[in-house]
């Protein structure tokens, strides 16, 4: 059985699964219940100056029958008093010494405010601090959250203030709402950050009510920009994590964004995360998903013959590079399994209108029969992505017998590319 425990920038955790700072970590009672069910760590709901939250704060994006594939929220930091939070945090840490208890903090860019909050927070015995430089709604207007995370100098400055007074590791939580997250990642590192956490939510409008014309969530007929999270943001978050992993910041990463299953988690780890954090999926299904997160990851590591989570960390990173390094001589074409094809014709329509007109459809014994015209197929994958039948359309390797040739090679006049036949 693989060892799931991790050491994240000096913070021990029995497994890599942490609850992200959000409603699932609002209270000590919740966090202790989550630990009992198997969560390895929890990042406390962000502590800040007292605020008042609106009622009606969430909006969901469904994908057909699948509810809440994405979630938009306009919730701010904790609306419970700091004293109550501190008391509960102390209690949780005392009762769960082997679990990771991390305090998320955010303040406007003023040194005394940060120093004061950090000192009082550290008094609880928490294992680490997470600086929330990411909240994209409500807080930036007050000079907090993304207002800091979008400015590398500010991020560096504040990180260094916190580092001066903190005896525990300082994690910096980044916002994805920037042109290139690598800049802030390096700035945080320069400020002394011990680890990086990403992503926070992505700026969104959670939909619009077509009857009242009010964007969601509607607060008495008005709305505001929100932070988007949940399964829908996973590919964006995966990129951001990989970007930071390759940014040269060289810090451990806690990956977040749309993690619902152990598979999602494994992908974040393969792209360089040491721990992962979960918010929306717990809001959807409850803490109980930890059972399969741990069990599934452990079985997967066993299957791969890997002894622990570290052994998986970053294995996919060397396979990401610049586009101009990709092999232009690699060629695949679609292949349709006539045995399992049900004749829905969706691949035909997709290829005809959104692809390269490489699928031929004909009536055959009373149903649609589709075939691939390999001379026109560019191997884009589209048909295989929309086919409703599992493994019916596969992409087959048809690479010519030529050495790899990248766009860089083309520019340098090196190598040879196979004749492109587009059937025209």
């Amino acid at each position: 059985m693989a060892d799931l425990s991790v050491n994240f920038a000096g913070v021990y955790s029995p497994n890599p699964f942490w609850l992200a700072s959000a409603p699932p970590t609002n209270t000590g009672e919740q966090i202790m219940r989550a630990f009992d069910m198997g969560w390895g760590g929890a990042v406390w709901k962000s502590l800040s100056d007292p605020i008042i939250n609106v009622s009606s704060r969430l909006a969901g994006t469904d994908a057909g029958a699948r509810r809440m594939a994405g979630l938009s929220n306009i919730e701010l930091s904790t609306d419970r008093s700091l004293e109550v939070n501190f008391k509960e945090m102390r209690e949780v840490k005392r009762r769960y010494p082997k679990h990771a208890v991390i305090a998320s903090v955010m303040m406007p860019a003023e040194r005394p405010l940060w120093v004061d909050l950090v000192k009082r927070t550290l008094d609880t015995g928490c294992d680490a601090l997470e600086l929330n430089f990411g909240c994209p709604h409500g807080m930036p207007e007050r000079g907090m959250g993304a207002a800091i995370g979008q400015h590398p100098e500010l991020a560096e400055q504040i990180t260094s203030w916190v580092k001066e007074v903190s005896h525990v590791p300082v994690l910096v939580k980044l916002t994805p709402n920037v042109t290139d997250v690598a800049f802030v990642a390096r700035a945080a590192r320069d400020g002394g950050a011990d680890a990086l956490v990403l992503v926070n939510t992505i700026t969104s409008i959670g939909g619009v009510d077509l009857d009242t014309f009010t964007p969601r969530p509607s607060v008495s007929g008005r709305s505001s920009r929100s932070g988007y999270c949940g399964p829908a943001i996973k590919p964006i978050a995966l990129f951001q994590v990989s970007r930071v992993a390759q940014s040269g910041a060289n810090l451990p990463i806690s990956g977040i964004g749309g993690i619902e299953t152990w598979r999602d988690a494994a992908e974040f780890i393969l792209l360089g995360s040491t721990t992962v954090q979960v918010c929306t999926s717990v809001m959807h299904y409850g803490y109980r998903i930890i059972d399969d997160l741990c069990d599934g990851l452990s079985n997967y590591l066993d299957e791969k013959g890997l002894p622990n989570v570290d052994a998986l960390c970053g294995l996919a990173l060397p396979k990401i590079g610049a586009w101009e390094e990709l092999d232009l001589n690699y060629k695949v074409v679609a292949s349709i399994d006539q045995e399992t094809c049900i004749g829905c014709g969706n691949c035909y329509v997709a290829c005809r209108d959104g692809g390269h007109q490489a699928i031929i459809a004909a009536r055959h014994e009373g149903r649609t029969r589709v075939e691939v015209d390999e001379s026109r197929c560019v191997g884009c994958n589209l048909c295989s992505l929309i086919c409703p039948v599992h493994d019916c359309i596969t992409m087959e390797d048809r690479s010519p017998d030529l050495p790899p040739r990248s766009w860089r090679d083309v520019l340098a006049g090196k190598g040879k590319t196979a004749e492109v036949t587009d059937g025209t």
Partner: protein, 444 residues
Amino acid sequence: MSTKRPHEGPIPELRPPMAGHEALAEASRCLYCHDAPCSRACPSGVDVAEFIRKITTGNLRGSAVRLLEANPLAASCARVCPTEELCERACVLPDMGLPHIAIGRLQRYVMDKAMAAPAPPLERKGVGRGKVAVVGGGPAGLSCASRLAWYGHSVTVFDARERPGGLNTYAIADHKIPADFPPGEARWLSRIGFTLKQGVRIGADLGFAELEGAYDVIFLGMGLERSVRMEVPGEDLEGVVDALDLIAAHRMGGPLPVTLANRDVLVIGGGNTATDAALLALEAGARSSTIVYRRTEAEMPAYPAERSLVRHRGVQIRFLRSPVEVVGPDRVTGLLVQPMRLGEPDASGRRRPVPLEVAPELLPCHLIVRAIGQKLLEEPGAGIAGVKVHKGKIVVDAATGRTDNPRYYAGGDCVNGGREVVHAVAEGKRAAEAIHRQLQGKEA
């Protein structure tokens, strides 16, 4: 136009296998309910919502582990459980007008994958040092043995029959489970770490005293092997057979004890054994197959699905008829039955059949199949202090399955009087838990 009679051709498999995409699509419909009603409805305590969620995440190994931890015979139960009466009936999707989740078939999908490996994916959970003898290799015995072996105890299962599996092997209908499946499952489970000894009847080939000398604890899972008699004149005439003998012979592929081809067959009883035997008669070429039951359809223990299946296949049912005499002279030519009406409810809560003041009726037939219940072959209590038998069932403590003799536990049909595989499994597991605690020196 087909001119086939309704009962012709083999009965289609009740829960056929699923392909991966089917299983994924079906599992994705599951709502993953809190305190899921399907799990609550499972006598063996399978966490249905969780095993199904693990299908959606692609953690099939974890799904099988979760199933086996609750129910070592998960593969059999996937096929033979009356799911439409248990977990599937509890599903909440029909409350919103959608079909229930096909839980039985999903369970089969997970277990089919798991059984492709040579041994169950269960890692030893303890270092038990006890020695346990299990009498009977049916669902109850195998469940108890699997769990104790999982806890690390040394377990030997003694079974009187040639092949393991109990009634799962010898009695349950072909369209639910092929006869060679349960023995294969038993051998697979034995790789958790227990020994299967077939062809050993405890009490005859080996005494209970000898078992006591060699084992710390003995689990009795011997089922109910003797068919209940009608106790009417003429019952011993040629042409009267026990349903279980008929079905067992058919399951083993051997010659049937009687010829059914072109015969008119009466099956006496109202449970699933009666419906299975009536179907088997038709399959073996009987000219007619009629169930004779002394109450009405509402009181029939056979499940609605079984009742509609037999009707669909062309079995007749005569309600409110109770056998009074088998008519000869040399061999069966008919059955005299007393027309009945329903009176006051009896101990089972069902209305009691009461004879009508009319003359018995003659039902001409060639064969009579007895399917009115099973009882203990012999009372194991003889000579074992503290193992009590009451009304043909071994008496145990409800929380632990322990008899009054602390070295004897029991479970399954021999305790519950004959229910389903899943109940036998649950009772085998209940005993295993208590035995484990006892062997660890903790009070059971």
